[in-house]
Symmetry: C3
Subunit: 114 residues, 3 copies
Amino acid sequence: MPFINSTLTVKLDKEKENKLKTELGKLIELLPGKSEEWLMVGFKDDYPLYFKGEKKDKAAFIEVKIFGSAEKSAKNNLVSEISNLMERELSIPKDSIYITIDEVSTWAWNGKLF
Amino acid sequence: MPFINSTLTVKLDKEKENKLKTELGKLIELLPGKSEEWLMVGFKDDYPLYFKGEKKDKAAFIEVKIFGSAEKSAKNNLVSEISNLMERELSIPKDSIYITIDEVSTWAWNGKLF
Amino acid sequence: MPFINSTLTVKLDKEKENKLKTELGKLIELLPGKSEEWLMVGFKDDYPLYFKGEKKDKAAFIEVKIFGSAEKSAKNNLVSEISNLMERELSIPKDSIYITIDEVSTWAWNGKLF
């Protein structure tokens, strides 16, 4: 039950959005027990972000929400690869990317709490 | 001090948005001590969401934030009824709806922390 | 590593957005150890918010995320000043502003967890 929501300064076309979704679907497997089978992905593009006091052409705030918890080493692998992905596909420098991982205990699907 | 923010793939017209807001204002009472008197409601419609690897015409990610905590049974009733509401009003299948409930300890209104 | 995301009913022009960003960059120093040097700021304007059952012309939901934690007194100063700022610059009444502070333990920058 993960959710990855990417808030991006850049504008995404359909092709790029699809590519990112596909890659995130693979990367989520870096967290044990997680897979694209339960992954929801959202994109908020063309969004105004300021960092260190300046309006950025290229920056990202990425929220990963997972049900339950994960080991720090697995989380480190995930944030490293998500950063690589955003730098490679969108030319967003890694040092303008924040990623938070929120380990959520109250999560519902299909009308019921897990 | 609850906040319910609905991120939806579908486009909302004013009438539908108003209907959802009104119903959410009733449903929040399923959490003891909560009511529309303190409820803020937001809608982010026409938003790209992918689930299980596919772009969805009908999906939702709904964040419920509450100040303090609530019993699991009450939370279960709430997510069940919110899911019913979204399925009934927006034809979003319940199995394409994620809901998280975030029990927030640091919440301010009117310039002061509760 | 703070992030302040303001969801606002009002529409922002560039000048106002820049002013808010600059002021938030000063206010974040109310939290010991935090400064604009590490602050990301985002704005979601012209957003539909309902409060107490009514659609509001002037309301705000502001999320402050910080890495680690802060003393309650410092957090109280911060929410007080952010509320003053929004009231002064955007004419949003303080009693239509919710602010949450989320103390995040899993936060990455530059491809690595802190």
